[in-house]
């Protein structure tokens, strides 16, 4: 085997590390994307019996966004197994307790329940903020593109940009500014 072929072989079967910024992203749409990288479905050599999945680091999981009023409508069910052991937790309550749990459950539920699922989940690293350990961040070689653009707050724009942005309407002639 030539040196080039040898390196190609290593590169094909090496585990790659991806990073994904979850700020302002829908966790349930993102999980369908993250799942493909975790299972290695984006590779031409993919096969369910082929262990070719990659690592994914998810940052800013505390800043995920849900549509509309889903924070108080989505419910997580848990049963301890004892009589009367059922609990229903609202999404915002769960997020308050553990800001990584919603995205973790979303990725877990997006995959089929087979023996590989637990091992695939071990390759997912979720952090509530941007503080990722250096030894993990050193492995990262790819950033997964966000699904929706991050909105910019009005007070984050410089005052000059807000003032000089093209105006659609002007005040009437006799208007008292408020």
């Amino acid at each position: 085997m030539s040196a080039l072929k040898r390196v190609q072989q290593w590169a094909t079967f090496a585990r790659i590390w991806h990073i994904y910024n979850a700020a302002w992203q829908n966790p349930f749409h993102s999980s369908e994307l993250i799942k493909k990288y975790l299972m290695g479905m984006h590779k031409p050599i993919y096969h369910p019996m082929n262990d070719c999945g990659d690592h994914v680091i998810v940052i800013n999981s505390a800043d995920i966004a849900l549509p509309g009023d889903e924070w108080k409508k989505r419910v997580y069910f848990h049963h301890t197994g004892y009589p009367g052991g059922a609990t229903w937790t609202l999404a915002w309550n769960l997020h308050e307790k553990d800001p990584t749990m919603i995205i973790k459950k979303a990725v877990y539920n997006s995959m089929d329940g087979n023996l590989q699922r637990r091992y695939t989940m071990q390759r997912l690293h979720i952090f509530p903020d941007e503080n990722v350990p250096k030894e993990l961040l050193g492995n990262v070689s790819n950033e997964i593109r966000q699904l929706r653009p991050m909105p910019k707050r009005l007070d984050d724009y410089p005052e000059k940009d807000v003032k000089e942005f093209p105006k659609v309407i002007d005040y009437p002639k006799d208007y008292v500014l408020r």
Binding site: W24, W71, L154, V176
Partner: protein, 158 residues
């Protein structure tokens, strides 16, 4: 004159009466005004001031004769376009009425929805009432978390 006054009040034509009361002014009374409040020690000074509009040099020119200013631009506005939406609200984040915005009925309702969406997402925290704590992350319970909206849920379609 007295007979005219009688006829006017009998027929509920108030405008005749009002116009008789109107003062004559040599200069134009129509100006953009601003009310300033300045606290000087114990005294609160409130005075009105005639100002020229800051928006005038940046106003979009429209070739349409009938379309409202927003329809004339032909834009599909999203709730994240805070630079446009902030033009339709007061300093406290309250939506301006239609007689001031000059929009058509559909656009006025749409913009009202979009402004509410932007406010709920916490994208215009500097345009809020004075009692607001200005930080969306300090809001109550579920309101402190990021949320986004789908513009197709607005019942007023263009």
């Amino acid at each position: 004159m007295t007979t005219l006054f009688k006829i006017a009040t009998n027929n509920y034509i108030k405008s005749v009466f009002n116009q008789a009361q109107r003062n004559i002014s040599i200069t134009s009374t129509l100006h953009l005004k601003k009310i300033n409040e300045i606290q000087e020690g114990k005294d609160l000074v409130i005075y009105g001031e005639i100002v020229s509009s800051e928006r005038e040099p940046y106003l979009l020119k429209s070739n349409h004769s009938k379309a409202c200013p927003l329809c004339a631009t032909g834009l599909d506005i999203k709730h994240t376009d805070v630079l446009i939406l902030s033009q339709f609200v007061r300093k406290d984040g309250c939506m301006l009425p239609r007689r001031i915005t000059g929009l058509c009925k559909t656009q006025q309702k749409r913009v009202t929805y979009l402004v509410a969406m932007a406010q709920k997402s916490g994208l215009m925290p500097n345009l809020t009432p004075a009692y607001s704590n200005k930080d969306p992350k300090k809001r109550y319970e579920w309101k402190k978390y990021n949320k986004y909206f789908d513009e197709t849920t607005i019942p007023f379609k263009l």
